[in-house]
Every structure is written in C-alpha cells, then in structure tokens.
Symmetry: C2
Subunit: 326 residues, 2 copies
C-alpha cells in the first residue's frame, strides 16, 4: 500500500494507495473540522488548491450533525462531496481538550458535550463505530493524549491503557469492516504513539504498537505544550522505532518550519488548523515569512499576498482588498 | 448606448453598452455592499454565475475603507478585481435609512456615521465626488428617499429639492469627468424618480427629470413600506413617463415575483440583497418556491436545492450538507 520512492537521510518520499486515491507524501492534510474548512473554503476549492487528503474530526461530527446523519447520507465522501482520501481523528484529542469534566476508565471516557453538556461515553469501540459510520479512508485509534509535561507514572499507566485500547480498536475495526452494511469496508486504522516527553516510554510504546502491523502510525501528544526542541528530539528518538515502510503521521503539526523539520525526521503526514485559522485572522504565510494583513501598511498594497504565486487568491486579489475583506 | 431589442406589451429586452461591457436587460444586479457580496461570494464566483452588473454602496464604501483608498487602488474595478459593469448608489438611501440624527438642508445632509458616529456631510457634489473616486460604471443621483407613507406636502417639497439636487449632480458629474485624473471619465449618471405613493407627483417628477436627457433613470422610493399593489400601481403610472429608449431601474427590488411584475411594466434593472441575505439565513429561492434549509425535513435530503440546476451549489452539494454548513 505504501511505496517508499526516495530517501534522503531520514526524510522519505512515499506513495500511499487507498481506496479513495493515491496520496503522495510528505503531505499536508487540510482540516475540515465538521466536514468543511471553516471560512467558506468549499471542497471544490480544496480540489483546486491540490489538497490530497482532508481531515475531519470524529468528536465534532458525532456532536453535529451526528455520525448517523452522515452515515444515512452515504458517508463523509458523499456528504461533503469530496472524492479524495479523508482521515478522521479518533475523537480522543477533543475529548481531552474540549470536553469539561471527564472520567477516564478502562472501558473508555465519560464526558460532556461542549455544545449542550449532554453526557457522552466514548471508548475504542465507540470511536471505531463512529468512524465507520463516517466511512473515512483512514481512521485513527482512540488514545489518551496527555498534556506536556505530565508526571512520569501517569504517562506510563496512560500509555499502557492506550496500547490496550489500540488492540480493541483493531479488533473492532476488523469486525466493522466485515459487516454487510459498512460503507467503507476498506477503512484503514492507524495506531498512535504516545508517551509525553519521556523518550524511553515513547520508544517502548512505538516498538509495541509496531508489532500490531497496522497500515500506518502516528506520533500523537506533541505540539501540546512542549518546546519545539523537545518535539524534534522526540521525533529523532521515536520515528526510527516505527515501521519505515509505512506512513508516519505527526498529528496537529504545524508551522511551515515545523513541517520541514518533521519531513527531515521521516514524517509523511501532517495536519494543522494554522493555514485556515490564521488566514481567517489575517495572518498569512509567505515564502518571506508571515504577514498580518490587518497591519495598516497593507491598506494600499496592490501586490498579491505572495508575488508569483498561482493560487486563486494570489492570481487575482491584492493585499489591500483582502485586508478590506477581513 | 441603449438598444431596444424587443418589446412585448410594456416589457422590454434591451442592450446597454458601457465602457466596462454590455449589459443585457432585464438584468438583476448582485449587491456587494462594501465591494464584496456578504457571505464569501468572490468576484470569481460572480463571473461563474453570470453576474452582469455588480452594485456597491457609496455610503458604506465612503465609511470603510474610504473612497480615497479605493481611488488610490485604481477604482472599484481594480480594487475588487471585477471587470464588468458596476453601479454605485448615491449614498442617499443609507443616509436616510442607516444614519442617526440628520439635518436635511438645501446644500445636502448632515448626519453621523453608523459605524463610529463621526459627523459627515453629503450633498449632490460630495456624492458625485465619492462615486467618481470609486469610478463605477454607473453613478446614481443623490436624492431623498422618503418613507411610505409620507405627508403630501413634505413629498412635494422633497421631490422639488431632489430635482434641484439632480441638476447639481449632473453639473458636478460633467465637471468631474473632465478632470485629468478621473479614473473613469465615461462614468454615467442615472436620475432617480421620487414622489412616494402620489402618482401625480411621481409623474410630474418623471417628466421633469426626463428632460435632463440622462443615460438612464431609476424609480426610487419604492419597496420602502408600501404594499406590492401600490408599488405595481406606481410603476404602471410612472414608467410610461420615463424615456422608453433608456434603461429603467427599479431600485432595491426584490423577490422573484416582484421582478417579473417589474419586467412586465417595462423595468430593465433590478437589485436586491435578498438572494445573498436570504441565502446566508438558509432561505433559498427555487422554481417551486422558497425553502428554509434550517427546517428539519432537509437533514437527510440528498437532493440539490434545485433539481436540474447547473449552478455551482446545485451541481455538487445536497440540501442536507448545505443545511449542515448553515
């Protein structure tokens, strides 16, 4: 499924074939939280800018419009009118970052919806079931994302539970893909490495989950409070313990510089809300750094955001006009 | 400039040539209040849906970003990146509908910005100067739009002042078009008929302004409180008193039914915020009437808004998905 096309140091160029099309890596996944990029970027726009994989959020879609609504509409691809690969996260990150009071137990997590406070339970099986309803191309394992820094003994216990959860995810995903009414019986499961900033816990965990022979692996629990240097150090340590001939996904990262550093360390997949969230707030990335279009200096600037860029915005609109729109 | 291609009863098919391209009438003008359609419709989108004329608001642009900013950017066409005709209203309607305390004098209107309360003065000359800075294809005369109903003696005095203002607009527009630094020296001025719901005042005013031999005429002060029947009656009475071989513009109208009734009475130009404003609120027009997409019945509706429609939304997205986006 994953072909390693070229290597340079630890950096890789790969090709990952899925039932919804081929992904050339390294790849940045655009984040369409609730089956849409915020800020009125349509799936037609995503095609035009060459987006290869769209990422949607299991927790958000479970809350609104509800994964059963998406299932009844034929899955996320039909619902959004997006025919290339989709990756769904497991909901775990939002459960731990957005939800209020929560109770983590062996079976899963009891928490409350951030929209209406309604009690929700999500464990590995529930996450797989929801993602199966969504029918994404790639489903992510349900894990606990601990904040950095966290006490060592807590991280150890959490990582062990995340491993047990991963095995349950794998079994449930296999069961679901065998069900006759499953929309995408070829849905892929990626495992997630955790362990905070403790490289030995990370490495042991990476070795354990690699044995499960999943189609891909993510490094989770980074970019959640630690420094960039700590993040790069963890990648240096842990990526060599993940299968080289499978895609490696660095979750929730990040800035252009973070991405280049990740590529150099062997990462294939990235995702981040930065381009769309920053864009909505007038902060745009260029080859010469970030511009804040709210700055008065752009009021009469008739140049495009990036001179020479062929994107739909740069081909046609000036900094001054985009500033006015903002 | 205006060629009458076909007549059927009072209805006309016309062709209006301007320096920014030809307009086939009857035409609906999309309203881009501050040099953009609200709701993230780009000028590229406007081209795709076949918009012939975009309408922008002089008062709003004067307040933000400022007509001198637009002038410095080379005029509205360059600023927005829109190369087809643009019509700007005079600011009069917003001065009378949006601004707070105002004093109407012979020279113009003293009022306060609805954004920051700053004192602004606008009269015929100021409106023409602002519109000349904006460099629209068609500028509208500065008039007083009285609400319906208004006392007869007030309407009479107001209409006489509007006629005097129109003559000042014409003189000022001629002066501005002769200035060496004017962006669009071919800017056209349309006069505006007023008179509330008093047909005799309307008719006398229409006759008076027709004598000024302007390139087009609007019927203003309708759809501001009177019934549809009163509006149709005024059109029945007044349109025959406007030049038949010039475009007639019914300002701020309206619903699909209003437009058809207007066409039947000889109207060439229409504009209204309905399609975009209603669209943003989930109310969409179809050939079978208006749908409210917030209605629960559309949650699982995989049909497009209008079956068989070739527009970018209907070609690709379901009612259920658009409901979810809203």
């Amino acid at each position: 499924m994953y072909t390693l096309l070229k290597e340079e140091g630890r950096a890789k160029r790969g090709r990952f074939k899925t039932v919804h099309g081929t992904i050339e890596t390294p790849v940045f996944m655009n984040v369409g939280t609730v089956a849409a990029i915020k800020g009125a970027v349509s799936t037609e726009d995503l095609e035009q800018i060459g987006c290869q994989v769209e990422l949607s959020n299991t927790y958000h879609l479970h809350v609104r419009p509800g994964d059963k609504v998406v299932q009844a509409m034929g899955g996320l691809h039909k619902f959004m009118s997006w025919h290339r690969p989709i990756l769904t996260d497991s909901g775990g990150f939002q459960v731990f970052s957005l939800a209020g009071l929560r109770k983590i137990k062996e079976e899963g997590v009891h928490f409350h919806s951030h929209i209406d406070g309604r009690a929700i339970f999500m464990g590995p099986e529930e996450s797989m079931q929801i993602q199966s309803h969504l029918a994404s191309t790639i489903a992510m394992a349900f894990d606990e994302c601990v904040e950095n820094p966290s006490p060592r003994d807590y991280v150890e216990r959490s990582v062990d539970r995340t491993t047990r959860w991963l095995k349950r995810c794998k079994a449930e995903m296999e069961r679901l893909c065998g069900e006759p009414d499953t929309i995408n019986p070829d849905q892929l499961l990626f495992g997630i490495n955790q362990g905070g900033t403790y490289e030995d816990i990370r490495i042991r965990h990476a070795d354990e989950i690699s044995e499960l022979d999943l189609p891909g692996y993510a490094v989770g629990g980074l970019a959640v409070g630690e420094s960039h240097e700590e993040m790069y150090h963890i990648l240096d340590e842990v990526v060599p313990h993940l299968p080289r001939r499978k895609p490696v996904y660095l979750m929730g990262v990040g800035t252009p510089a973070n991405i280049l550093e990740g590529v150099e360390r062997g990462v294939d997949f990235f995702d981040c809300v930065y381009p769309s969230r920053n864009g909505r707030h007038g902060h745009v990335y260029t080859n010469r750094g970030k511009l804040n279009l709210f700055n008065a200096q752009y009021e009469l600037d008739s140049r495009p955001i990036e001179e020479g860029c062929g994107c739909p915005a740069c081909r046609r609109y000036s900094r001054g006009y985009i500033r006015h729109l903002l």
